[in-house]
Symmetry: none
Subunit: 328 residues, 2 copies
Amino acid sequence: MSGTSVEADAENIIRAITPSLDPNRYKGQAGKIAVIGGCREYTGAPYFAAISALKIGADLSHVFCTKDAAPVIKSYSPELIVHPVLEESYSVRDEEKKFIAEKVLAEVDKWLERFDCLVIGPGLGRDPFLLDCVSEIIKHARQTNIPMVIDGDGLFLITDNLHLVSNYPLAVLTPNVNEYKRLVKNVLLAEIDEQDASKQLLSLVKRIGGLTILRKGRADLISDGETVQSVSIYGSPRRCGGQGDILSGSVAVFVSWARRQGLATDGNLATSPFTHSPKNPTILGCIAGSALLRRAASLAFENKKRSTLTTDIIEFLWRSLEDISPAH
Amino acid sequence: MSGTSVEADAENIIRAITPSLDPNRYKGQAGKIAVIGGCREYTGAPYFAAISALKIGADLSHVFCTKDAAPVIKSYSPELIVHPVLEESYSVRDEEKKFIAEKVLAEVDKWLERFDCLVIGPGLGRDPFLLDCVSEIIKHARQTNIPMVIDGDGLFLITDNLHLVSNYPLAVLTPNVNEYKRLVKNVLLAEIDEQDASKQLLSLVKRIGGLTILRKGRADLISDGETVQSVSIYGSPRRCGGQGDILSGSVAVFVSWARRQGLATDGNLATSPFTHSPKNPTILGCIAGSALLRRAASLAFENKKRSTLTTDIIEFLWRSLEDISPAH
């Protein structure tokens, strides 16, 4: 691998991993996603990630957030199952911390095995006690072999704690430009190199070891240390906050689907109708999520122009998917 | 009865039990439904059940839930009347339990006689203290001769407390595949028998005694121990969470309507224009609710494809009913 990127065959990948809609299936078989995020300050981000998962076709979408955030996130949509279980320092006395952390973990553990993928970070905030609890959640999820998409404040957490994700092939990081800058600085002790972006991404993934990174940008670059794929189909020039949350929720669904399609074989996608595409389910999930978001953003922008918001883009996720992989 | 099912004449049944819209009627005569459910964790499920009842044509729809759940459920829709009266263990000290349980029951009792049907279970949760209170509510409702549709965590409660519903002909259970599995295991000490599904359902109903079960599945099977009716018209291949809540709310309305049509006579539907259909109002209500949900799900799926969520299906309830039984 020379360090140059290849434009991904995104539409064929979406068609290959999206499951057929079989009337014999029952609730849950098209995916159960959980978002870990939502605190006193942020409630929109976890909602965007969780509702995007449902709108793409997951059957169940949960949110684990703080007690303050829960009623608000619930009120955005009755379709989400919202668990008010996380705690921030301001509501916990020092002597209670150990006990409360154990309680938080026990609450999450009750559910963990049921999920096909976690999204860790949207609207998580940076409270040290809360982040400590989330570190433990990541360790448990890893023991249980659950894929994780890590974004936003989840990236803030793992950038200083790379052991949480290194050599875990089911981890996906989805940094934006600033988050990527911090990762590159911390891991490669360097600045971003735009000239050799693919090569630098490969180095970064290899140095952290055995995971997948989706570097968001004008073109999204995706690497697992073996290959660098790019997705550069046109999206929208609007940069409203929240699009990253759609991406993390979408990638979670597609990684689950790619993994499910592949689990019948060696964990990779064997039924792939294309020969030159990668077969790692996290790479496939990233490519599919990136391409779908771009297409939905483009459709939303055609309709709403400068006024396009994240909610508008979410409303076009189904049309984007339907155009590429019709339900019937 | 041989234990084979008969495809129900669902459309004629819907036409026969749906009341005409007479300008002389006043508020409440088209049905007053109450949902018992909604706790700290779940708020979507009781909302879906309660709003579905209204969207089909009930005049009033109440929800009895915990204090935490009430503001959220209220925020989903100003159409619902939401009573924050239930309590979970975490907010009640041991020495208060008896007093609080009596208070909860007194609050519900004030309203009980006004309702035409209760839906017990959507988003109820599994808190032991709360479930104890709901057991008492079921006993009171039974003394008052109010029909009850029991779903979700309500089924969890009654599976271990079958005396609450056995030999109560106005009780309807609506188990999904997992809930049915638990019932069959507890009552028949057996596994699910897919080959002889109708026969097993008959045995289950007879063993519990004198109630109606709607077993959800690819075809819904409905039995009161006398007959097994099936509803298998095509719905949607989407298995998003919440469709069961639409069903429980819909069945509640149709049971009320079937009962009202029948009350003029011997409790059964005498004015039935069809000779080979059952006349038990709980069976008729189940058939109507099942068929209407399937039709609405099918219409929603045509429009929203993989993105179809419970909210989308609810928006098609009126069209489904209007197609079968036009308001004028």
